[in-house]
């Protein structure tokens, strides 16, 4: 490389990056063709999107768009993005543009699905946030553990145990105690994971699998042996009601989507912010990340690798337990066998898709929550697309991301490796 290229504003790019950039460009063009053929051609009627809920203070008028017109516009814009991507690229904002393109495709899809009908856009996005809550907590739990290089496959089990304790203790001593119990049981399971992974150096994936089997077994067993007979006294918890944030909750469109929920949603916002700040702006965060990236170097500098791993894994378990309590105390009001039904694994996927970053995890959880709520609302619109494929989407996206076909997620360097002090 000559000095000229080094001083040029264009960043040097490796062959892999160039290839990736081309693939993304082709993806744009394919999406444009897809939108054009499937959503635009032959679609008739206007799609009516409702932008306000009935109890909003400011009633936004409905958004009425020509479904075909919307799809033609989106297709044209995607083709333009593809052209730019293939010729000069978007540089640092590649991923943002990619996200925007996906959102546009989703919008065109909604327009097509709602053609000739009326559809509550605000209701669906509200449900998106709700659906993303347990996924986010699961993902945050994973971030906490994996940043210190302990793989946590047991998120599902921790969520399930948190949900169980939330229902049991919540029924006996009130919802706040239920949450506390959920947090504690999550921490306890994480402690077991930590002891197995750190002290006994058990394969971390096995340890996580064990926690999942154990949690599923013990909660189902106790449900059938204790909860079912005494469901009035032991499995009936007061649910947290939605609370509208003053001012913020009155913002048209945004307010009802983000600021008219119950305690767990606000706790999610706060926790994402706190963990993001703590991981990247504090001494604790720097040390945690050092333990995850290069434990030997961290140890040499006097950081207690084992202490950091124990502490963060237990904190991660507590977060998962808290997220688990959401299922009962924040949503259903009663525990049901295996009620988490794989949310912990979607959380794991969200952590990977969010690149081991708290804010990324929230974003990924929102995307996955979107596909979940879309599936729930598709029945109303009676589209020919089977809902099962939307439920598959998070898993497919994750496989694509870990395979590095579009972008690549890089875990902490020492992830999954036990540390042996010399």
């Amino acid at each position: 490389m000559t000095a000229g290229t080094a001083t040029a504003p264009r960043v040097l790019r490796s062959p892999a990056e160039i290839r990736r950039s081309r693939i993304i460009g082709i993806v744009y063009l394919l999406l444009a063709a897809f939108v054009l053929i499937v959503f635009a051609v032959g679609t008739e009627g206007d799609a009516t999107f409702r932008l306000a809920t009935p109890d909003d203070r400011f009633q936004l008028p409905d958004l009425v768009l020509s479904a075909a017109g919307l799809s033609y516009t989106v297709a044209a814009f995607l083709a333009f993005l593809g052209g730019v991507q293939l010729t000069r690229g978007f540089g640092k904002s590649t991923n943002v543009i990619l996200g925007l393109a996906m959102a546009l495709v989703a919008f065109a899809f909604l327009g097509w699905a709602a053609a000739g009908k009326s559809f509550s856009l605000v209701g669906m996005l509200q449900l998106t946030v709700v659906k993303s809550v347990p996924i986010t907590f699961g993902a945050l739990s994973g971030v906490m553990c994996e940043r210190v290089a302990v793989i946590n496959i047991g998120i599902e089990g921790m969520l399930l145990s948190g949900a169980f304790m939330g229902a049991l203790i919540g029924s006996l001593a009130g919802p706040w105690m239920g949450i506390l119990a959920g947090v504690l049981v999550g921490g306890l399971l994480a402690f077991v994971l930590a002891v197995l992974a750190i002290r006994y150096r058990v394969d971390q994936i096995i340890a996580g699998v064990v926690i999942n089997i154990f949690a599923l077994g013990i909660t189902s067993y106790l449900t059938s042996s204790i909860l079912v007979e005494n469901s009035d006294t032991l499995n009936q918890v007061t649910i947290f009601r939605a609370w509208k944030v003053p001012l913020l909750g009155d913002i048209p469109f945004i307010g009802p989507i983000f600021f008219n929920h119950n305690f767990f949603v606000y706790a999610m916002y706060v926790l994402v912010g706190v963990i993001a700040f703590a991981l990247f702006k504090t001494r604790w965060g720097l040390r945690s990340r050092a333990v995850g990236e290069h434990p030997k170097a961290a140890d040499t500098l006097g950081i207690n690798v084992f202490r950091f791993r124990y502490l963060n894994v237990i904190l991660g378990g507590m977060i998962a337990g808290f997220g688990g309590a959401y299922f009962t105390v924040g949503s259903a009001g009663a525990f049901d066998e295996n009620m988490t039904s794989g949310r912990g694994f979607i959380g794991l996927a969200a952590m990977i898709f969010g690149r081991w970053h708290p804010v990324g995890a929230l974003g990924a959880a929102l995307v996955f929550g979107f596909s979940d709520s879309l599936q729930a609302k598709l029945g109303i619109l009676q589209t020919p697309i089977p809902g099962e494929f939307l439920l598959m989407a998070p898993y497919i996206v994750t496989v694509i991301v870990v395979a590095g076909i579009v972008g690549r997620a890089r875990p902490p360097a020492a992830d999954g490796q036990p540390y042996v002090k010399e």
Binding site: D203, V209, F214, G217, S225, P386, Q417
Partner: protein, 416 residues
């Protein structure tokens, strides 16, 4: 398996390859037992630790039985002697039911072996992955996809049983092999970790089955719910004990499982390919340096593992189930992980562990009838068994057993 702790003493008479690449040393103290079976470790870690692990798990299970009855707990304050007696009776009823349900009658043994069939096949699927350093969490999804393909072959074709049944089983193997092979291919070509991809593939398979069961091609006519057409009689695995009692469910699937165990043993410890698999598992860099094709090994191992998982699903569809419903794999694919660990990833160990887990499943149902202890306790016991197998130091500390080698790490971290 990591290089520094616990290089497996893989051993198998394949001298011509050992000259070029030796995956592990032929360590001292290896008896004839190890040389014949290819198993590693001394008798303590092979026999004593698993036995003690199962025993300890049952003891803890008994404690859980004792404390999970509210009326019994409140009795302790009033009359401790009576409470103690009743607690013992409750545990006795539960474990008595467990044992008689599993081995106490012809019916029990038949049920045990019926459950053992898919468990052995799925356990082999996980075990062959472990041997090659790959963690196949995807047995559940492979069971589903293999089972679905076997189902389609089973109701769509109309042939004589001598052709139809083998074709259906082959279909199941292929369905699973594709579902396992893709993660293997992704691992080999892109480095995507098989743990992540197989977990995701499980869930994709679960959703796919939900979808497929609603399509007119597969859904049973006249049914609104998710249930498939029935497999034709010519593709069913024949029942073995019908001459004693038509209710006995034991079928020829057990022979498929045992044959598969023998085939996996032969493949791993008697064939060149298997030697490569184990070499790649012990040290991929070393194997590559020795001229082995690591990419091909990863793909083949995962495809074979997937095929075995697919067979596990197929034997279920082609025998006891006869049709598919959502979640017909019944979590057996996850039990298989525990089972492969208990069986020390050795085909013969997997057979024994499969029979034990089959006994737990069969006996669990009887336990639920004989006492009011729920069958879900079996899952707890299985989880505890794995804990003690994976962390033998715990067993060592409880029972003061000496010289137990620590468990080795099977997978590499996600970052590699």
């Amino acid at each position: 398996m990591s290089d520094e702790n616990g290089v497996p003493e893989t051993d198998g008479p394949a001298p011509e390859e050992r000259a070029t690449a030796e995956p592990a040393g032929n360590g001292p103290g290896r008896g004839p037992w190890a040389r014949i079976t290819g198993a590693e470790g001394d008798w303590r870690s092979l026999v004593l630790v698993p036995v003690l692990a199962v025993f300890t798990a049952l003891v803890i299970g008994a404690i859980i039985i004792a404390v999970s009855d509210i009326e019994l707990l409140s009795l302790w304050g009033e009359d401790a002697g009576e409470a103690f007696r009743q607690t013992l009776a409750r545990i006795g009823d539960a474990y008595g039911g467990l044992f008689t349900g599993a081995f106490g009658s012809v019916r029990g043994i038949s049920e045990t072996l019926t459950w053992a069939t898919p468990l052995i096949l799925a356990g082999l699927s996980v075990a062959i992955g472990f041997r090659a350093g790959l963690f196949n969490i995807g047995a559940e999804g492979q069971m589903l996809m293999g089972g679905m393909l076997a189902l389609v072959v089973g109701f769509q074709l109309n042939l004589t049983i001598w052709l139809h049944l083998p074709l259906a089983l082959l279909g199941g193997f292929i369905g699973g092999a594709i579902w396992g092979g893709i993660p293997g291919w992704l691992r080999a070509r892109t480095g995507a970790h098989e743990v992540i991809t197989t977990i995701m593939f499980n869930w994709i398979a679960i959703r796919f089955v939900d979808y497929a069961l609603k399509t007119p091609f597969i859904q049973r006519e006249g049914r609104p719910d998710r249930i498939s057409k029935d497999v034709l009689e010519s593709a069913r695995l024949p029942k073995l004990l019908e001459w004693i009692d038509p209710q006995l469910r034991l079928n020829a699937g057990i022979f498929v499982a045992l044959l598969a165990a023998w085939a996996v043993y032969w493949l791993l410890f008697r064939s060149t390919i298997g030697f490569e698999f184990r070499a790649v598992g012990a040290n991929p860099d070393g194997a590559k340096y020795a001229g082995m094709n690591v990419t091909r090994s990863y793909i083949m191992v995962m495809a074979i593992a997937g095929g075995l998982g697919g067979l596990a699903g197929s034997t279920q569809i082609l025998s006891v189930l006869g049709n598919a419903t959502p979640g017909f794999s019944a979590n057996l694919g996850f039990d298989a992980i525990a089972l492969a660990l208990l069986g020390r990833s050795h085909p013969f160990g997997v057979v024994l562990a499969g029979i034990l887990f089959g006994a737990l499943r069969a006996g669990g149902q009887q336990m639920q009838v004989a006492s009011d202890v729920g069958i879900d306790l079996i899952l707890v016991i299985q989880a505890l068994i794995v804990v003690f197998i994976a962390a033998p130091e715990l067993i060592k500390a409880i029972f003061r057993v000496k010289a137990v080698k620590g468990t080795e790490q099977i997978t590499r971290g996600w970052a590699t």
